[in-house]
Amino acid sequence: MELKRSEDGKALDVALIGVVDAANITEIEEAVKKELDGVTELTFDMKELEYISSAGLRFLLKMHKTMKSKGTMWIRNVNDDVKDIFRITGFLNHFNITA
């Protein structure tokens, strides 16, 4: 996982890499939460994400709800495998997924 915050502090880019599951989700969640103050645009880059488990989806849902009141959460660069996961779990049409 890589975190990148814009200069004005309003945009936070989180690149999820490899596998996101119960084994590493706590670490990711804490790292993101720490940087979340004042952020109005939270973007998850899934270019290098291979798999996301239900624990990871729970985290995304939590962030989605958190950002609803503060701004927007974007998901970008979703590959086909991850897109299938979103489709099955029904989040595909409810998260803001961009190219």
């Binding site: 239900s54 624990a55 729970r58 779990t89 989040f91």
Partner: protein, 564 residues
């Protein structure tokens, strides 16, 4: 073995040796110091005294008479060649007597008699240690370290005869060369024992050196006194040292060794006999390091005892909780319906294999009315007690809402979703596939809230997934409108429902079981009875995960429709 054979060297023995060594050192130093000081003082006072007496005796001697005796003696002595001079070392030998005979004529000199008489008056001085008074002269002419006796104060038989020639050792010779007489000196010979000798010069009427008056003071008595003083001092010091050593040892024993032995004994029995209080019974009240050590050991014992008690309580508590969780997990599994429909038209079978930790998978089936059966396959996100409790709530809500007459699966999901969202602080959600099968027509209406695609097999076809855009899981997002899908089941059609524990089962190398492998197994077992089919999929999943404990519950349901 080496540990055991290590020879013991107890603290007490070490203390004894150290005290004895120190005492001996102290004794020796004080003995040497006092002996040196005592004999030095004694000797100096004797030397001073001897010198005083010599100076006193000189006054009684007629210098001219002594000079005459000296001249006579030296004349005879000088007439003897050096190699014929017989020294006093040969006293009593014939050669010595012959040599002395050469000086016989000196006895007849009136000057000799005069000086003898004058010297003999020294007995009136009343000095008991004054052992001899005599006059002598040195052979300065030939410079061969020889001293010659002139007149002795003793009566003739005891006197040292004139002409006795004595060899003077090197260093002494250098000092006697001074005509004014040498410093008093002390000798210890076999013949006379301890003597202090002092001399003073005698001058004739012209002021020329005539010879030396020498006196000997007997120091044997004073040396004997010195010896007994040292002996007494030694005895006193040794006894005193012994007493001090014993006192020190007793004190150390009581104050240090005893308490330490108590502590070490307590430590040994504590180690071999744990659980009982060993240090707390020890009474050590000294306000020093040993007292501190004792207090620290008592505290440590108490702490350990408390700690052990705590561990016992915690272990018991943990076992209780673990047992209760086991019971809860079993209850959770037992709550799932086991009375599977095995009718001519409909066969249903389902299994739930829980993972190590309590999970949130569940299946369900129930009659919604006389003609419809509800089928549920669901998976709560997360694990443990929260997931299990959430599962019970979700399952109950689904069942209750399904009993509303004429309600469709999407309506049920919409209602249950809003009910769950209303009060869901844990952020858990549950994926649900809900289908209602019309037992008369075989029409299956279903709705999918984020759940794995079910697999369907139409008669003579293969199992395939019912894909499509799912709606989000229940409890994830509020006010979702779920949608229905209708499938008409024909005779012999089969339905396979499952949770992600099947396709996402993980092999030790990290690879996943996958939906394709699942479909392949299903197709291979397309003729199997529901129990056998689930058994075969379960076996394949176990074989795939190998030694890996199941990370997720594996839940499956097989439905066979044999109606119209």
């Amino acid at each position: 073995m080496s540990e055991k054979s290590k020879s013991r060297f107890p603290l007490r023995l070490k203390m004894v040796l150290i005290v004895i060594a120190l005492s001996l050192m102290l004794c020796s130093v004080s003995l040497i110091m006092s002996n040196y000081r005592f004999s030095a003082t004694n000797e100096q006072s004797f030397k001073d005294r001897a010198k005083d007496i010599a100076n006193l005796v000189v006054l009684t001697v007629d210098g001219d008479a002594l000079a005459a005796v000296r001249d006579k003696v030296m004349e005879i002595y000088n007439s003897v060649p050096l190699d014929e001079v017989v020294l006093s070392d040969d006293w009593g030998s014939d050669e010595f007597n012959a040599y002395l005979a050469k000086f016989e004529s000196v006895y007849d000199m009136p000057e000799f008699k005069k000086v003898h008489e004058q010297l003999s008056k020294s007995q009136y001085l009343g000095i008991p240690t004054l052992s001899s008074v005599y006059t002598e002269v040195y052979d300065f002419e030939r410079d061969v370290n020889n001293a010659l006796y002139l007149v002795d104060a003793a009566p003739e038989d005891d006197a040292c005869p004139p002409g006795v020639t004595e060899h003077v050792e090197g260093a002494d010779w250098e000092s006697v060369k001074d005509e004014h007489g040498q410093e008093a000196y002390i000798t210890n010979t076999e013949m006379y024992g301890w003597l202090v000798t002092a001399s003073a010069p005698v001058y004739d009427s012209n002021g020329n050196f005539a010879g030396l008056v020498a006196i000997d003071l007997d120091m044997n008595e004073i040396k004997a006194n010195e010896q007994s003083f040292i002996t007494i001092l030694t005895v006193i010091l040794v006894s005193l040292t012994a007493v001090i050593s014993i006192i020190t040892l007793v004190v150390i024993s009581i104050m240090v060794v005893g308490p330490i032995k108590k502590l070490s004994g307590a430590a040994s029995s504590y180690v071999s006999n744990e659980g009982t209080r060993k240090f707390s019974d020890i009474r050590i009240n000294s306000a020093d390091e040993i007292g501190d050590l004792s207090d620290a050991m008592k505290k440590m014992e108490n702490d350990i005892s408390d700690y052990v008690d705590n561990i016992a309580v915690m272990t018991a508590e943990k076992e209780r909780v673990s047992a209760e969780l086991g019971v809860a997990a079993k209850m959770q599994a037992d709550m799932l319906p086991k009375n599977f429909p095995n009718l001519s038209d409909l066969k249903v079978f389902a299994t739930m294999t829980p993972a190590k930790e309590m999970g949130g998978d569940f299946y369900d089936f129930f009659m919604t009315d006389d003609n419809h059966i509800g089928l549920v396959m669901a998976d709560v996100s997360g694990k443990g007690v929260p997931a299990a409790m959430f599962m019970i709530v979700a399952r109950t809500l689904l069942k209750i809402h399904s009993t509303v007459p004429g309600i469709t699966p999407s309506e049920i999901l919409t209602d249950v979703n809003n009910a769950l969202c209303a009060d869901n602080p844990s952020g858990l959600f549950v994926t649900v596939w809900l289908g209602i099968l019309n037992l008369t027509t075989g029409e299956l209406i279903s709705s999918n809230a984020g759940h794995e695609y079910p697999a369907i097999m139409h008669r003579d076809g293969n199992y395939e997934l019912i894909t499509g855009d799912n709606m989000p899981p229940l409890a994830a997002l509020e006010n979702i409108e779920y949608s229905d899908e209708t499938i008409a089941l024909g005779k012999g059609d089969r339905l396979f429902l499952y949770t992600d524990g099947v396709p996402e089962a993980k092999a030790p190398d990290g690879s996943r079981f996958g939906a394709d492998r699942m479909l392949e197994i299903l197709n291979r077992g397309r003729e199997l009875a529901p129990e056998e089919l689930l058994g075969s999929v379960n076996q394949e999943v176990f074989d795939f995960t190998g030694d890996n404990d199941l990370f997720d519950d594996v839940t499956m349901m097989s439905v066979i429709w044999n109606g119209r």
